[in-house]
């Protein structure tokens, strides 16, 4: 079947009496013009679609965040805040240390939670478990530790968290 078809195709091509070079030239010009049209339409449409992504990327490009009144957080509890677009955990460990970790599970991206009584970070989606002191994955499906942030300083009025 396929053999038959390619035969007719060949016959048709040899039927053309025009010189091959002219045909190739026309094809290249048509292709080039077509590409220009596709680009002239495609670029604005791409930028139009990408507009919120650009804005979000710009808004997320921060290196530090000051969490007002977060110093009042009791030991053994945590809060979730946004670092740019990413949900993050600020944990006040029972022994008084402060830890900031990404709250996005490294398995499939669910938001994890801190469980003070069990001293673990738990992901309810698929049961992933992390060590709250350093974010290491200790059980379940997560392939790697939670991304960590730096708790730069804890003042009387705020906790300052920055990128590593």
């Amino acid at each position: 079947m396929s053999h038959d078809y390619s035969n007719t195709q060949e016959q048709e091509q040899t039927d053309f009496s025009q010189p091959a070079t002219r045909r190739t030239f026309a094809k290249v010009v048509a292709g080039g013009v077509g590409f220009c049209y596709a680009a002239a339409i495609g670029y604005p449409v791409y930028r139009f679609l990408n507009s919120p992504v650009e804005k979000a990327t710009l808004a997320a490009a921060i290196s530090e965040i000051s969490l007002k009144d977060a110093q009042k957080l009791a030991a053994g509890t945590a809060l979730i805040f946004k670092f740019g677009a990413e949900p993050c955990l600020l944990i006040h460990l029972p022994e008084g240390k402060w830890v900031a970790l990404s709250a996005k599970c490294t398995h499939l991206g669910c938001t994890v939670q801190y469980e003070g009584d069990k001293q673990r970070i738990f992901c309810a989606c698929h049961g992933g478990t992390y060590d709250p002191t350093n974010g290491h994955n200790i059980a379940g499906p997560p392939p790697k530790p939670l991304k960590s942030f730096v708790v730069k300083e804890v003042t009387d009025s705020a906790v300052v968290v920055s990128r590593v």
Partner: protein, 442 residues
Amino acid sequence: MNSLFNTVYAWANQRLDLDDMLRFARKKTVPEHRHSAWYYWGGVTLFFFLVQAISGVLLLLYYRPGPDAYESVRQITYDIHFGWLIRSTHAWAANLMLVSIFVHMFSVFFMKAYRCPREFGWWSGIGLLMMAMVFGFSGYLMPMNELAYFATKVGLEIPASMPIIGPVMADLVRGGLEVNEFTVHRFFALHVVVLPALFVPLLGFHLWLVQKHGNALPPSEEALPVAQRRSIPFFPNFIMKDMAMWLIALNVLAVLAAMFPWDLGAAADPLKPAPRGIHPEWYFMSQFQVLKVFGNWLPGAAGEILGLVWFSLGMLLWSFIPLYDPTRENGRRGRRATYFGLLALVILILTTAWGYWAIHIETQPATAAAPAKLSGVPNTVNLVLTDRKTDMIPVRKDSASILSAHETPGWKPVVHDRQDAYPPVKTIVLSVAPTPEAVNPK
């Protein structure tokens, strides 16, 4: 590459018999004569419809109907990259689509392409035209700006003048006693769900009929013996020419949309009087002017009812043409149909021109007379409004953060807080007033 294409083609061909379709397309012919340029206008309409579908879906990604409508269109126009271009494309293509529909319809009419067996083509075409106009009317409200607000208000007053059922219908369409955010929501549902769902199948029927009956020959060609008639293959010759027309249409659209971006206008304000010279889009201009004229003859609802009767009767006669002039013989009925078409065309063009002329006259004194009263003062006022926060010229003239105005000497900016309105509105209207020195120059 080629052999891969051939393999895939052969695979699909075996199952779908694509060769048969191609054979059919090559065998199908399109008549070629000195009037065949008119055969492309249906295709051009189809092109603009496809542009509308695509650009409409793109606008749908950011548009929010309801109370947020104006703000979301403002964001599309000024905040989203190339949003102005997509919106401008949608607005221009809507107008160009109606232009090509009218060209298509009148060319079909004068080439007598509505005659047996093409009556259903004519009727489905009229249905598509009506729907395209409702598309235009409902789409016009989407930005909820001043023009949209009043156009919709006026447009819905016309059916409301019908006795008994009129007011009930108008209130139901509006979703209230006045045009409001529910109206936007209803029109939105109509514009993006109901109308496309009705339009697309009817368009499919229309195209199927064209395929079934082929292109109609104008009477002058039909008079020729068959041997003297010329034709070209549908594929690839006609398709190539059709695509060339699409390319021209695309270029015209691109130039218009990019060089003359569609205006956003001021947000609708129910407490503001209608701006002078307000008028509908050109494809409603004829009806608008007829209503205005009838309204002057017969005050009250009678004028509008007469207008409604006039339009309905016109559309009815227009639809009955294939029944009045059904045969190929160019007899007395054929001639009368042509005269009727010419009359309809002339009335449409004259009333439209009359409408624009009337608006031109109406707006004349408003712009020219006011400064003329003050002789010896600058007639033009340069006003630069700056935004307090950014020190930039604000895109929204109704922005409450407009603070300073750099004015021409002799004129003073006046900020009106709209306290007179009830309930009080927070809009600041900035206008300019001549200072005493300007009125009485020393």
